[in-house]
Amino acid sequence: MNIQSPPEKLKARDFATDQEVRWCPGCGDYAILKGVQNTLAQLEADPKNTVFVSGIGCAARFPYYMETYGFHTIHGRSPAVASGVKLANPELDVWVVGGDGDMLSIGGNHTMHAIRRNIDLQILLFNNQIYGLTKGQYSPTSKIGTKSPSTPLGSIDNPVSAAQFALGVGGTFIARSSDILQKHLPEVLKRAYTHKGASFVEIFQNCIVYNDGAFKHFTEKSIQAEMQIHLGHGQPLLFGEDKSKGLVLNREEMRLEVVTLGENGITESNIAIHDETNLSLATMLAQMDPPDFPVALGVLYAEPAPTYESAVHTQIEQATKDGGTADLNRLLQRGQTWTVE
């Protein structure tokens, strides 16, 4: 990470390239682009030290629209490419952008290992629960029964939950937001940026063409309050209009339950408190699904740990110190030698 204030403060639009944005009109990606540009402006990020790496997909076109360094790579491999970027130059701020197909289908393994290694990347998964760019096949996050060109009778496989996956593979920062939450999103992204290590952010994104309304059961204005819970570290897990609902831990069954303040003698003191560092709680929060539960948004889990690239370079520095001079001629002559006269 490298925040150098350039002479004049950059505005969000200064992070936009001159390239025409080519998503479908109405695509949620536009809002995310705006959110990210806002975030960088607010962070006073330095464009020259910022790199966006992506795979292939609609989401993955992202780097072309960011006036920073950018690399649009191949399908599924962006976490690996980005790992290489960060290893080569830990000073760069590296953002990784991709869709649910890119990062959880073909690229699932790279996502997993980048997260597990805790390389200091901001990994943004635009989850639209569909393959947009290839015209609408179901994805590993699509709901069971999704009709798509490749599943005309409906899909039959259990979707994977991005957040549960990231928790399961040892993520140190896991958060969620949505394309339509223009205030929430930059806050989450700023947290991701500040976190040292792999920050994994799932952003629910509407694909207006192939999967319109996939998230409306918790993003529609009218039900937002009931169907979203915005997490704050140390804050009670309250939601609903007037924050009248909350989550409590059923201690016998080790499950979260939704309660209404005032009903059955429930007061705020019964409500569970969000603790970002509690993996079990994060796992339970990640599992919540409407209609029985609200969707947990914000930082589900954040537990700082040493980053991979810093350990790499520490070892190198150590070796340089221990090994004395790095003299190639000496290395060439290492081991048993003899002289022919």
């Binding site: 020259k48 790199v51 360094y69 690996a80 970027v85 290893l87 130059n89 070796a319 340089t320």
Partner: protein, 622 residues
């Protein structure tokens, strides 16, 4: 030290020979690799030229005594230039029946077989599939067999150190080494020093080993050996003076990569995933941290290639390395490097295929994959390593080309070269010409795909450079600007310029020379990679026999040297020995329309000099 010195005395009646091939073979636990290395070092110090080849079992640690657990080490050493680790064996030392049954076929007619008869127990015989003890019947007729109960003699020799029987037997390889030292009139001092250093913390073990070494030597000397065996003298070879070491292909390639990166003024990011026989490179580079070398064991080969590409994008030199199946996995990513025109070095340590094939056996069957094995028109330079020490120069050259032309470069080496070793006149790193990379920093008129007029290379920009922010990617890019372009003519132009850029490298590499003989001979034997040694020796031998034959050996596979077509045209016939079914042959026939004929061998083993001599004779004497 005194022990060794005490019994060192001059030999007489030694038969002078030009070269000899000795193989030590035993169980994986018998320390054959160490024995071989010690013999090698001593031969080198004695001034011989030499070449060695270790032969590990495919299994990690097979049960003791089994045929698939046999480990062997072969050395060819001589008073003349040594080109291969040797065709047939003058001497085979076997530490158990399994080693005998698996190695006997390679012994010369009337060659010497020295066996530890103490290890020929019923159990071991059964494990090797013998129903009778071959040392006791006439099955070894046609060889000069020496049965010695090395096990017992070793135990006796070390008994003063109070080791258990099992521990004592660990020194029997040194007993055998001592005996062979005696046969070839070798000094034991270097090995004594080495044992003392190695077991500095365990002086008793050191002493036991030295005692065994001396005992083996003394056994020969005290005339307990059958007279007809003979003792030999191999004079020093004519060797360029200087400081030497032995070097394997894995070592030379890794040192070359390091040297090349320093010459280019770049940091290395070596990204790989373990695979036999390529892992050796990862292991070597992982020990070069003091040079700022980053090594990254990725989750798979694709991630390794992708991370290397990312590193190159960020301004390091991305290198990735694997063997056949892993290289296949990297091809899509290599296409990205070709498309985005980023430098990248890919080391392919070839092994016998297809599929998993024979991981521990050698082959040259990835040339097709290297030259043609990608989607789309995706040209990439390919160069090859010819001997264990050659990797140093080749790796440097790969980096020079990759960075000068902004292109991935594939280096083809193989399992044989990776593990084989030869003496190496250690170069002075400062003698090689530098080729520092000039990263673009000037924003004036910058366009990420604007090409250098001469090399056609695009500029390399490090992220972090002010005012040069830009985007690259795998979708076709507009000439100059690099923006996504679906324009038909642009794709045509870009496809052509990518091909021209790579073809243009032929003007930047040396003209092809004739290694042995002259242009215009009746027969050219043209090879690449690890066939260099056997072809060289075979062609030299046949020329001594008066045959009109020449050797051409390629370092550059793609693009081919600019004069190659003309050169090949000067010969009446062209023979292409390859450890594959004819891959270079395809290239030559396509490029030059010459009736190049293949000589193809795919049994996982290098060509024998004799095989090549026969092939040359057959073509010139008919």
């Amino acid at each position: 030290m005194p022990e060794a010195a005490a019994i060192e005395r001059p030999e007489e009646n030694r038969q002078e020979i030009e070269s000899a091939v000795v193989r030590f073979a035993g169980d994986s636990g018998d320390g054959m690799q160490l024995t071989g290395s010690q013999f090698t070092m001593t031969a080198a110090i004695a001034g011989n030229d030499l070449a060695t080849f270790p032969d590990f079992p495919a299994e990690i640690r097979a049960p003791a005594g089994t045929t698939f657990g046999v480990s062997a080490f072969q050395i060819n050493f001589g008073a003349r230039k040594i080109m291969t680790s040797g065709d047939l064996l003058d001497v085979l030392v076997v530490m158990n029946p399994a080693a005998l049954v698996t190695n006997l076929a390679d012994v010369k007619p009337n060659g010497i077989v020295i066996a530890d008869s103490g290890a020929f127990s019923d159990r071991n015989l059964a494990k090797a599939g013998y129903t009778e003890n071959p040392l006791e019947n006439d099955s070894l007729e046609g060889y000069r067999v020496v049965k010695i109960d090395m096990s017992r003699l070793t135990v006796e020799a070390v008994k003063e150190f109070g080791l258990s029987n099992k521990e004592a037997l660990r020194s029997k390889n040194m007993w055998a080494l001592g005996l062979i030292y005696w046969m070839y009139g070798r000094k034991r001092q270097a090995s004594v020093d080495w044992l003392e250093a190695k077991f500095a913390k365990n002086p008793d073990v050191a002493k036991a080993n030295i005692a065994a070494l001396n005992a083996g030597h003394a056994f020969g000397e005290t005339a307990e050996m059958p007279a007809e065996l003979g003792t030999f003298d191999v004079e020093p070879a004519k060797i360029e003076p200087g400081l030497y070491r032995t070097i394997t292909g894995a070592e030379s390639v890794s040192l070359g990569l390091l040297a090349g990166s320093l010459l280019a003024n770049l940091k290395i990011a070596f990204c790989s995933y373990p695979i036999t026989p390529a892992s050796a490179l990862l292991h070597q580079l992982a020990r070069m941290k003091e040079f700022g070398v980053v090594t990254f064991q990725a989750e798979d080969e694709i991630a390794a290639a992708a991370a290397a590409i990312g590193a190159s994008y960020a301004g390091s030199l991305g290198i990735t390395s694997s063997s056949g199946p892993g290289i296949a996995l990297k091809m899509e990513a290599i296409g990205l490097a070709i498309a985005t025109e980023l430098p990248l070095v890919i080391i392919n340590s070839q092994r016998a295929g297809p599929s998993t094939g024979l991981p521990t056996k050698t082959e040259q069957s990835d040339l097709y994959q290297a030259v043609y094995g990608r989607n789309g028109d995706a040209p990439m330079p390919v160069i090859s390593v010819s001997t264990p020490s050659d990797g140093y120069e080749v790796a440097i050259e790969a980096i020079r080309i990759a960075t000068k032309y902004m292109t991935p470069v594939m280096v083809l080496t193989d399992g044989y070269i990776t593990n084989a070793s030869e003496p190496w006149l250690i170069p002075n790193a400062n003698d090689t010409e530098r080729f520092d990379v000039n990263f673009r920093t000037d924003p004036e008129n910058f366009q990420p795909f604007m090409r250098d007029a001469e090399t056609l290379a695009r500029p390399w920009v490090k992220p972090g450079t002010p005012d040069l922010m830009h985007r690259i990617g795998g979708i076709e890019r507009s000439y100059d600007s690099g923006h996504i372009s679906y324009d038909p003519d642009n794709h045509q132009k870009m496809t052509e310029v990518r091909a021209s850029k790579v073809l243009g490298i032929s003007d930047d590499i040396p003209e092809q020379e004739v290694s042995v003989g002259e242009a215009g001979a009746k027969l050219a034997v043209i090879g690449w990679g690890s066939t260099y040694g056997p072809i060289n020796r075979a062609v030299s031998n046949m020329r001594e026999d008066g045959l009109d034959v020449a050797q051409i050996h390629l370092r550059y596979i793609w693009p081919l040297p600019r004069n190659l077509g003309e050169l090949l045209n000067s010969f009446d016939n062209i023979l292409v020995p390859e450890m594959n079914t004819g891959q270079l042959r395809t290239l030559l026939r396509d490029q030059y329309l010459l009736p190049a004929e293949g000589l193809n061998k795919v049994n996982g083993k290098p060509f024998l000099i004799g095989e090549l001599e026969d092939a040359i004779r057959a073509r010139l004497e008919k």
